[in-house]
């Protein structure tokens, strides 16, 4: 039996605005296992980010609860790293400064954290760009820094919130390959959010399909295709068709 890292039990989230209460998440039950690459897949505005925020502790569920490694999530913490949609790099810090920021916050010594940061900078393929400022990097490279930064803090679980959403198609394919390469080298529990079906099937160990607001979990797919995956194999296309059929009905 694999170890459960995240357990969500009957998680609901409401937002109260001037126009009344919006029910975003409704009774979501989900377990995420150790070193699993779980993809949350769903249409545009279906509360995927809200769900991630609830797990990361940036939002608190209105009812139900989330535990990570057995601890109830009440606020953000270094055991849960997040890579954001738009790059949330600090523009005033170099690549090195950004990547070593997590360990620095925890008071790790300079030499030790530099070594650690260098390891992850190398891992994401940015060797030689340590002293570059984010404004000089391309979108794909910026997201590599974001991934290295999350890794460097050695979280139990990483949340990637549509990290490749604003990249051009070519870079996006490349980054998907890269993410798998990095993850296979340094296995972590990853929850990856996307609204792109190909991306979901390419990356996932398991896909969880979310419906529109109020979001619930509609279906679950174990993806057993061997890696590296190919977008054009019959198995891939068949899965794609199968999943799209279900999504289309739910929108």
């Amino acid at each position: 039996m694999r170890k459960k890292i995240i357990e969500c039990s009957r998680v609901s989230k409401e937002f109260t605005t001037d126009r009344g209460t919006v029910n975003v998440l409704q009774n979501i039950d989900l377990d995420v296992y150790e070193n699993e690459l779980l993809v949350l897949f769903g249409p545009g505005q279906c509360g995927k980010s809200t769900f991630i925020n609830c797990m990361a502790g940036l939002d608190i569920a209105t009812s139900g609860h989330v535990t990570v490694n057995g601890h109830k999530v009440e606020k953000p913490g270094p055991d849960r790293g997040v890579v954001y949609q738009r790059t949330a790099l600090f523009p005033w810090l170099t690549v090195m400064g950004n990547v070593e920021y997590g360990p620095k916050c925890r008071g790790m010594g300079k030499k030790e954290r530099r070594e650690k940061a260098q390891y992850y900078i190398d891992l994401v393929g940015l060797t030689g760009f340590e002293n570059a400022y984010p404004s000089k990097l391309s979108g794909g490279m910026q997201q590599r820094v974001g991934i290295a930064r999350a890794y460097c803090n050695e979280p139990t679980v990483m949340f990637l919130d549509e990290p490749f959403g604003h990249l051009d198609a070519q870079t996006r394919y490349l980054m998907q390959e890269e993410l798998i390469r990095i993850w296979e080298k340094e296995k972590r529990t990853i929850v990856f959010v996307t609204n792109n079906i190909e991306e979901a099937i390419y990356l996932a160990d398991r896909i969880v399909l979310m419906t529109n607001c109020p979001s619930t979990l509609k279906a679950e797919y174990q993806i057993d295709l061997s890696r590296p995956r190919d977008y054009t194999t019959p198995e891939f296309l068949q899965l794609r068709e199968e999943i799209s059929a279900v999504v289309d009905k739910s929108i």
Binding site: K75, G77, A88, W92, L93, R106
Partner: protein
């Protein structure tokens, strides 16, 4: 490279054109009498003489400049050192904001020079009254800009800090202040400009030394050449100060593309 060179020529041309026009309307066609608008040649002669002569106002030009600079910079530095942290604290800590804001909002619209009469009554026409006046006129832009700058901190950057377990103070130090730095530096530059303007105004009203005083004395004895000398010195020093500050800013503010 070639392009840059031609731009420099354009800048030199602009000054040459200005001096040429001035010379043309005075010495060449005599549109203005020299007792009203002296020619650039006369002003240049006066400038050279005034470098060492104390006539007619009791001090040489460098002495006047030094006096003005000393007062302006002391008040200015106090304004920056006190104003910037107050702005930062107001933006970061709600309670400080609630406590300081009512008084600050009342003081903010009062121009620096409007403090001069009260300051003269309280502290006389010496150095103190001017330093306090300049302090107030530098203080306001420093508070405003650091406040606005801190408020521009992006939520997503704060989230990153939170997920890394940074404390509130760490987030202020590592995230909010670096975000605000370009804004803070802009405030520091505005403050320098208003300090320099205010010292001259203060000296025009009441003083015994300084560039403003020199100009005011020259007006009394109809010496427009000295007045223009003083004005040009004010302009040149003001530009020089903001140039130096710009250089400092370029070094301090990192990661932003400079044009």
């Amino acid at each position: 490279m070639k392009k840059k060179k031609s731009y420099i020529w354009l800048s030199i041309l602009s000054i040459a054109f200005f001096l040429g026009l001035w010379w043309f309307v005075t010495d060449v066609i005599g549109m203005f009498k020299s007792t009203v608008l002296p020619s650039p040649v006369v002003v240049a002669q006066t400038f050279i003489k005034k470098m060492s002569s104390t006539a007619p106002d009791g001090a040489t030009l460098p002495q006047h400049i030094f006096s003005s600079l000393k007062i302006a910079l002391s008040g200015y530095l106090a304004g920056v050192v006190i104003g910037t942290p107050i702005g930062i604290m107001m933006a970061w800590y709600k309670r400080v904001d609630l406590f300081v804001r009512p008084v600050f909002d009342l003081i903010r619209p009062i121009p620096g020079i409007a403090w001069i009469p009260l300051m003269i009554i309280m502290f006389g026409i010496g150095m103190t009254s001017k330093v306090v006046t300049i302090f107030l006129s530098a203080f306001v832009p420093c508070v405003l800009n650091s406040y606005t700058g801190i408020r521009q901190t992006k939520d997503v950057h704060l989230w990153v800090g939170q997920t890394f377990g940074a404390s509130n103070f760490q987030m202020l130090l590592h995230i909010a202040i670096p975000t605000a730095l370009p804004m803070i530096m802009a405030g520091v530059r505005v403050a320098l400009g208003s300090s320099w303007t205010t010292i001259i105004a203060a000296e025009l009203l009441a003083s015994t030394r300084g560039l403003g005083f020199m100009i005011q004395q020259a007006r009394g004895i109809y010496r427009p050449d000295i007045i223009i000398c003083g004005m040009l010195a004010i302009g040149a020093i003001g530009s020089l100060l903001s140039y130096v500050l710009q250089k400092i800013e370029n070094r301090v503010v990192k990661g932003v593309i400079h044009n």
